[in-house]
Symmetry: C2
DNA sequence: GATCTGCTATTCATTAATGAATGGAATTAA
DNA sequence: TTAATTCCATTCATTAATGAATAGCAGATC
């Protein structure tokens, strides 16, 4: 059965795309807020309407056929257009309510954004906020987040970016650690101490190398790649650590150490899509983030 | 009520686009093969989902609001993507059955295409053919036609075109006219005769001017802009007329006149969209048109 | 003014679509 | 080998969507 475009059901393509991206009927059902039998029927109906096979069925889900792969880009284009429609409608509605989703690192989600979001909620009680922490190295996919807070300059060409602050870094240790082990006099002496580091992340090793010190990952006697947990390890007295200065200086159980090195500060950038930025509530949250984050970093 | 893109119903946009283009619920219902109340509901549901007003309601239909106009381009983009999906599926299906729609002038629909389409049907009985005659000056809208047969070179940049023939023109009169009025000796003498012409179309006047004769539209004692009816007027003996040579020479009631002028021939072009051309049944009909039309013009 | 035409809005019966529940298959872990 | 997990396919009761019919409105025509 072949149908003219005007008689094809566009919503079946939405189901196709969800199954293609999740790889299963149940995954797509969850993503669309529907049920697994419904998704199975939608795919079958679309295959019947187009007279082609779009998926191979497996016990563990579905994989795209060549034909399925051929039409995938057009399905993605339909979603982009649908997103444009939704964003345009929101801009025209001019409404300062609804949900704004903010993506940031796990560390910032623990130690920077909570007080900022409380402030935003105070100013805009009709706006709901969703915090989406992640340390994945991939860049934003704006299907899910409206605004991202990043500690590096975003490089994608179709984004709006704004540099809002610099985060000063410092060397810190807990009082409990200092009572047991004392203080290092300089960077060289620090390596006779316990230092908390990252496990697989090369960030700290690269920073040391740029200061003239080559160290191996296992020079760090305690290691984690989770940056929020990293700070808790330092606070618990596991060793000396590097973190954002505002955080260490605000903690009464922590002492800042002067080992004679000048650590480069971290930039803070906001980023979003041009069209999303024009949605009134997103614009409002953007402005408030730009104002409140620098304040929170004092 | 605002919904995430994944929870918006894409088929509502299809209804929006149909109403926007037809200007009424009943018109859109006819275009989509649905009912008027359904279209009304779909528009209301979409307005509720997006929290905007998309149309102003009038006794004679609906007009787009500014917001409605803002989202119209994205809705058109969705249809383009949906069309791409349907075409891609058809190409992959590789099926030599289904319907092919052919657009052409009213004249060609009477005197050229019928014998050609009979020949195509003979070769491909599984392919249904729809002939869409029109003398509107607008170019093809390929939502409705797969292939167009044109007597001029199509100018759109995204089309595939092919020049397949030249149509020789001639001057003709019916025996009944010649018995009453005789034959003109040359072009000058012809204007002492009854000449059948076009009413508002400047084609014939422009052709005369390019041959050095300036005449007024009312110099034609019988006039019509319908080219197929034009030929019937000549055949009935209303006067001398200009038409395609293959037609006049094939008619036993018609005599060709030699008045010493050389009328430029008409080109015949086939045209279609690149993606549509790759659909197997369209490709097949294209090839057969390219072969059979020149034969029909002998 | 009366009538016709073409449209939208609403109601109600009918049809279609949906989801909870269940069964079957394949894979993995104990 | 058995049990658990994760998936798709199917059935049946429920819900949602649809279309025929009707009413109302505005504009054009006689």
């Amino acid at each position: 059965m072949e149908l003219k475009v005007s008689h094809l059901d566009w919503s079946l393509v939405q189901s196709f795309l969800a199954v293609a991206e999740t790889g299963s009927l149940s995954g797509a059902a969850a993503a669309l807020g529907q049920s697994q039998p419904t998704l199975g029927r939608h795919i079958k109906t679309l295959e019947d309407q187009l007279s082609v096979t779009l998926f191979q069925r497996h016990p563990k889900g579905l994989s795209l056929t060549d034909t399925g792969n051929s039409i995938l880009p057009a399905a993605i284009a339909m979603r982009a257009a649908m997103t444009q429609i939704a964003n345009t409608a929101e801009i025209d509605a001019g409404d300062l309510s609804g949900t704004v989703r903010i993506a940031c690192s796990v560390f910032a989600a623990h130690h920077v954004l909570p007080v900022v979001l409380a402030k935003i909620r105070e100013h805009e009680p009709a706006i709901s906020l969703v915090l989406q922490p992640s340390d994945d190295s991939e860049n934003l996919t704006f299907r899910d987040a409206d605004i991202a807070v990043r500690m590096y300059r975003p490089k994608q060409l179709d984004l709006i970016t704004r540099h809002i602050a610099e985060i000063e870094m410092g060397v810190f240790a807990a009082h409990s650690y200092i009572q047991r082990k004392g203080r290092p006099e300089n960077l060289q002496g620090m390596f006779d101490h316990d230092v908390v580091g990252y496990d697989t992340s090369p960030l700290m090793i690269d920073a040391m190398k740029s200061m003239g010190h080559t160290i191996a990952p296992d020079a760090f006697v305690v290691r984690t790649d989770n940056q929020s947990a990293y700070w808790e390890l330092v606070r618990a007295g596991c060793g000396i650590g590097f973190t954002q200065a505002h955080l260490g200086r605000a903690d009464p159980h922590i002492e800042e150490l002067d080992i004679g090195i000048d650590i480069p500060s971290l930039p803070v950038w906001l980023t979003t899509h041009d069209t999303v930025r024009r949605i009134p509530r997103v614009a409002r949250v953007w402005d408030l983030l730009a104002r409140e984050i620098p304040r929170a970093l004092q």
